[in-house]
Assembly symmetry: C2
Homo-oligomer: 339 residues x 2
């Protein structure tokens, strides 16, 4: 299988030493070899269809031109765009990305992390923002290069690329306030994610700012089922019902849709709902979802850029890049029916 033509084959054909071939074929060292020789080597290589064995190269240079991307679950629609964003930056620069899914388990995360380290990946992009005992701390201690994406670094001095969560939530609350809503509920994501707390905090302060009553319900995971479960609980309470829901993300918001439907409530007529992320197809839901657009592809690309800066320029400054977000108003929010 695969390539059988090696650097020595090229050397033989070009009538030079293998070392010379290596130098001739490498951009940074080709000035160490005569221009004519470079040309001879070049077309010897082309003639034979030579392509360097990156495993061998990796062994020698102890770099694999590969980066690991650790995310909770690829089937969560916000991740594919992020991954594509990462790829779009890395691929043209000769890097390959390996994506692994933890399914939210710290044990998986650790196992996958080790397996990638063993594969000599040159760095990591962490899309799992646990504040708990994730391997992020350990990775940093071990001197492994890394970047956080879509999650805060939680104390570890890795660079982080995030959307402007506070601003997004604030815009959502403002929008609802302008529509006349006075009693809001926020479905907060699991405590293990840094974003959950940021969003909840912003929700509370924004409600205060606009003089609204805001309460928070905690979810155990960012999933449709959990959103439905928690919304069911909210509706079961006897205290005064909210007229609008600010969900921690679009998945939770979708769960809210389901819950409302089960209870015979209409969205947005009875209750308005705002999501977060503007994941793909959220504009096609029933009803089309008002949500906060986060530039996922850009998040990915930017995180890749920061990682490469670490790898290639040994720049370990712990910058924090906050990308702007935008409230997309669609049909899941409307003016409150009566005061």
């Amino acid at each position: 299988m695969s390539t059988r033509v090696t650097i020595s084959d090229v050397a033989k054909l070009a009538g030079v030493h293998p070392g010379t071939v290596s130098r001739a074929l490498n951009k940074k060292t080709e000035n160490q070899v005569n221009a004519g020789t470079v040309r001879r080597v070049r077309d010897a290589a082309k003639r034979l269809g030579y392509s360097p064995n990156s495993i061998a190269r990796g062994l020698r240079t102890s770099s694999s031109m590969t980066v690991g991307v650790i995310i909770p679950d690829l089937t969560n629609p916000i991740f594919p765009p992020i991954v594509r964003g990462i790829d779009s930056y890395l691929l043209p620069r000769g890097y390959t990305t390996v994506v692994v899914n933890t399914d939210g388990s710290d044990a998986n995360e650790r196992k996958l992390f080790e397996s990638l380290v063993q594969r000599q990946v040159d760095g990591f992009i962490f899309g799992t923002g646990h504040t708990g005992q994730s391997i992020v701390h350990e990775a940093y201690e071990r001197g492994i290069r890394g970047v956080m994406v879509n999650r805060d670094s939680g104390g570890v001095p890795y660079p982080a690329v995030v959307g402007d969560d506070s601003q997004g939530i604030r815009a959502s609350v403002e929008h609802l306030a302008q529509l006349g809503h006075r009693r809001l509920v926020h479905l907060e994501g699991p405590a293990s994610f840094s974003t959950s707390r940021v969003r909840a905090a912003s929700f509370l302060s924004s409600c205060a700012e606009y003089g609204l009553s805001g309460t928070v319900a905690l979810c155990d995971s960012y999933s449709v089922d959990e959103g439905q479960r928690v919304m069911d609980a909210v509706l079961a309470e006897h205290s005064s019902q909210p007229t609008a829901v600010v969900a921690g993300n679009d998945l939770l918001a979708l769960g809210v849709y389901h819950s409302l439907r089960m209870h015979g409530l209409r969205c947005p007529e009875d209750i308005s709902v705002v999501g977060f992320n503007d994941m793909p197809f959220s504009g096609d839901f029933q009803p089309p979802m008002t949500t906060v657009r986060v530039p996922q592809t850009e998040l990915g690309a930017e995180s890749a850029r920061l990682l490469l800066r670490q790898i290639e320029d040994a720049d370990r400054s712990a910058v924090r890049v906050v990308l702007p977000v935008e409230l997309i108003v669609r049909a899941s929010t409307t003016r409150v029916h009566q005061a």
Copy 2:
């Protein structure tokens, strides 16, 4: 970065030769070494936190324990489940998967393919079913191991794992016939995909079977925009309008939704729509989509199984696995209003 403890360190601590360490740590060769020694080596390794350098191993064994997965676009929602399915089979067996996106370009496909070959991947899973000049033929000629997933092999004797497209379309047509529809349109996917023609053929024969009038409109890509464009064209025709649309996949069906909405037509009251794939969230669209469920995760897992069989057992039989599909009736189809 990464691991600095090598096999020789372990050998030194255990008081044996590096070669012995290698044998002791390898399942298939550990019977060549005394049980006591194995134990000594084992905990020397544990004590030092040794973890083998898979690059070095790969160089020697010329296998990377990596498989390449080539798909058009990860943000197409049918692919994440397939990829997860592949992973679920490969990961426990020590393999890592590298996913690359061609964005439908043959040039990209070739470039990515070569780059993966150069990385010594042990095999490929092709999710790009071009019938044209994809690299699949060449890969086979070169003796590279591979499997087709979600696409037919198109003449190349690679194993293929597909959903039962014919049956799915037939079930859709039957469903519409039972609802009283008589004039159907099929939005056929691009000719370069083997599935497109299979589905179109099944559509036509099923219409004949049920005595319906069925016409076909060709799309240039499997995308929402293209579905909308083509449906616009269908609606612009002056001939008798269809009462139901069988879309080549869910993305096209979504485009049909958009087109209908633009034309002030209601789905399903004015026109019924059936999708294909049951991609994630298709039950949350407006209206919830009647579509054919394809077991994507299983497709992925099965293709991975077939690939490993080639890699590890040198079994190159070109089996073709057809997984059953199921029509999921939701709200985008209804009884025809009047005859």
